[in-house]
């Protein structure tokens, strides 16, 4: 049906993409913009691999109609690093070995970012609850929680962003 040229604000940049109403946000990100950091897995809102931040809120890009995300600020995992310097949350995931196959990592990191943006000093329980919508098929949850705790401490002690 009606095609349109839509403007998406992704990772601080403006992108014009031709879309139709039935196109999903994840397909705009991955297929039109080449941002394949956002993962497609269950397609049903169970796993959280497709999580992106829309206006700062963790959202399933696989259940979001792209047309409803026009003009909103979208952050994907590609928007976190500055040049070759990883974001402190990404660095903490590396340092703590919180990555096994890596498939859940972009979603985990974005859910963690949404948490830490609002709550710089979360308890372990608060971290668990913030990541409850993200599944790790390798079951490496303990190190993920360690990484978020460590990132929070790092950010509080003067890490950037």
């Amino acid at each position: 049906m009606a095609k349109e040229i839509a403007t998406f604000l992704v990772n601080g940049g403006e992108y014009e993409v031709i879309i139709e109403p039935h196109v999903l946000l994840i397909d705009v990100l991955r297929d039109k913009l080449g941002l394949t950091g956002t993962k497609y897995a269950c397609g049903a809102g169970d796993c959280g691999a497709c999580t992106v931040l829309i206006d700062g809120k963790p959202s399933f890009s696989c259940l979001t109609l792209a047309v409803t995300a026009k003009g909103k600020s979208i952050l994907t995992v590609e928007g976190l690093a500055e040049g070759n310097e990883l974001h402190p949350i990404q660095q903490a995931f590396v340092d703590k070995g919180a990555i096994q196959c890596g498939f859940c990592t972009p979603g985990m990191i974005l859910s963690a970012k949404a948490l830490l943006d609002q709550n710089p000093e979360p308890t372990r329980e608060e971290i668990k609850s913030a990541l409850a919508g993200n599944l790790c098929r390798c079951t490496g949850y303990v190190k993920i929680l360690d990484a978020v705790e460590s990132a929070a401490a790092g950010l509080r002690n003067g890490g950037q962003r």
Partner: protein, 292 residues
Amino acid sequence: MHRVLLPFEFAEPTSVAEVIELVDGEKARPLAGGVDLVLRMRLRQVVPDRVVSLQKVPGLDYVQADAGALRFGALATLRQIERAPEVRDRWPLLAEAIGCIVSVQTKVMGTAVGNLCVGTPASDVAPALYALGARVKIAGRQGVREIPIEEFFVDAGKTAVGRNEIVTEIVVPVPLLGSTGAFLKLSKTSEDIAKVNAAVMVTVSGDTCTTARIALGSVAPTPLRAMEAERVLQGRPLSAKAIVEAAEAACEAVAPISDVRSTAAYRKEMVRVLVRDALARAVLRVPAAKEG
């Protein structure tokens, strides 16, 4: 599960009146948060010709509390309601029930009204709203009608919302003084929907239970009140014996089905357990000193 959706016409009206005109039949679906609708479109369980987004209608995303009631609009998200200080303070049962939906993304995107409009008896929000005596406002061409939530759920997947109608608001009265409640959910994993869930609200005056509302989910085509169990408690102290009797009455009253999540026999037995435990939990929450 399909990777892409089938094409549809998309409408983004800016008033409730326009939305009502556009949702003119089975093939026209309102979209709030989309967590259920888009999923069911992927599954081809729903193949709409037209999707009518409410997202551009101003003034539907409120959560407001005053002396008489809590009100939230069709676009109030589960997360917004769960975290609202007034909800946590005065309607903690509702926050507790929403808390049993664990995925942050689901709660950030999904609305409470959307959760109800799915019409599933496994809703975690619905039993809490049954126990709290909530009412549903439905806007249509003839204006707005308001019905008790018990009349909203008609059958599995079927609600009282008709053609050219949408739910605009949920009204939850302030609980009576001395009321406490509890919500319990039993599920395969914490992110799955309920095998059985139960919400209770009891009002205690002196030693006596003056009102009791007990609601169950996932044991019938709609959520339901366990009225026999409520009657067992009324006018009695909430003793361990009374609680066991009420739980027994609730168990006797239900006739659940077997499906992929559980068996009828297990569900029935778990009604007894959840009602017993929820009542016990509610009793523990009765304030020790009388409230002034």
